[in-house]
């Protein structure tokens, strides 16, 4: 499964929007097959913050740590967001 984050919006900044995005996407996650991988695609995302990512990306990553793959991106806000979340949650995202 590939999750195109741009489908949730161009600028992904608030916790509330991140929570709503996850709630809306839950049915898709429940349809995952046992060994299916999850690719997170940042193409078309204008700006991402730790708050949005903490409500959407981190719960998915924590639920499927072996199956989530973050696709490469040049977006500076994604890189800086990952740096902070790795520090807060003591995890390695990329």
């Amino acid at each position: 499964m590939r999750i195109f984050l741009k489908k949730f919006g161009n600028i992904l900044t608030s916790r509330q929007a991140g929570k709503e995005a996850l709630a809306a996407f839950e049915p898709n996650l429940r349809a995952l097959t046992a060994d299916e991988s999850i690719e997170i695609d940042f193409d078309g995302v204008g700006s991402l913050t730790p708050s949005w990512a903490d409500e959407f990306l981190i719960p998915i990553f924590q639920r499927y740590p072996e199956r989530v793959k973050f696709l490469p991106t040049d977006n500076s806000s994604v890189k800086e967001t990952f740096a902070l979340l790795e520090d807060i949650h003591k995890i390695r995202l990329s």
Binding site: N10, I11, T13, S47, T81, L84
Partner: protein
């Protein structure tokens, strides 16, 4: 029904200028009030004030500061007021589109939008159900001066942070913690690390931040992790951030 008119005092407060300035602008034609006779009181239409703000350069920092610290709560000019997070999100999207169209050099647009988003959304998240008077944000930008102002009349950093870190005793301590310490396990939900993100972004980019809350004043210059935090004479219960990029 006609929209209510604002008195000269209300208009002066809204624009962060003196009564004398408004009288001068009346004489020069820059901002004309409504007067039934040449000597009667001056009144202003909200729509005229909004048009004026769109047409003339303005000191958005002074307007935001005046609004945030005013002892008497009032709503800021409509074009700068985000009463809800949805409005803030829409205006942030507009700024993103404008900056992208202008293709401004030396601006990391994704990071600039991200830190504005963190500061603005922080205000909504931390004050939900607890706004002391006016709920919402003052959000304004001046692309010529490369300046963004985000202000709120919320509870401030000290009040919200003390709930999860009771050892805090003043605004300066609270602001330092907010910008430097990772706080985990914040009840009832994990939140509150947005300002660390802001600090990291400023430290690695050509941006500057001035952040006020209570009687604390934080300054962070671009390309440096150093924070200067000191106490100011005045105090107010919300937050104000000025970002230069």
């Amino acid at each position: 029904m006609n929209p209510p008119l604002l008195s000269i005092s209300q208009t002066a407060q809204l624009l962060g200028v003196s009564l004398q300035t408004l009288r001068r602008w009346d004489e020069s034609g820059k901002l004309k009030p409504i007067r039934s006779t040449a000597t009667s009181y001056r009144y202003y239409r909200q729509s005229d004030i909004d048009s004026f703000l769109q047409s003339f350069p303005k000191n958005i920092f002074r307007m935001g500061y005046t609004w945030a610290v005013s002892a008497t709560p009032y709503e800021p000019p409509a074009i700068f007021f985000c009463p809800t997070q949805v409005v803030f999100q829409a205006r942030l999207q507009t700024l993103f589109t404008l900056l992208t169209k202008l293709n401004s050099k030396n601006v990391d647009i994704p990071l600039l939008i991200a830190i504005i988003g963190e500061i603005g959304n922080n205000a909504f998240d931390h004050n939900l159900g607890n706004w002391p008077d006016i709920s919402g944000l003052f959000f304004a930008y001046d692309l010529k001066k490369r300046e963004v102002i985000i202000a709120d009349r919320g509870q401030g950093v000290f009040t919200t942070l003390k709930r999860v870190k009771p050892s805090l005793t003043n605004d300066v301590q609270a602001v330092r913690v907010a910008f430097t310490e990772v706080i985990s396990g914040r009840a009832p939900e994990a939140r509150g690390n947005g300002l660390k993100f802001v600090r990291n972004v400023i430290a690695h980019n050509a941006m500057q931040l001035l952040f006020l809350s209570g009687n604390a004043r934080l300054q962070s210059m671009g390309h440096s992790a150093d924070l200067t935090i000191n106490e100011t004479k005045g105090t107010f219960h919300g937050c104000l951030a000025k970002i230069n990029f």
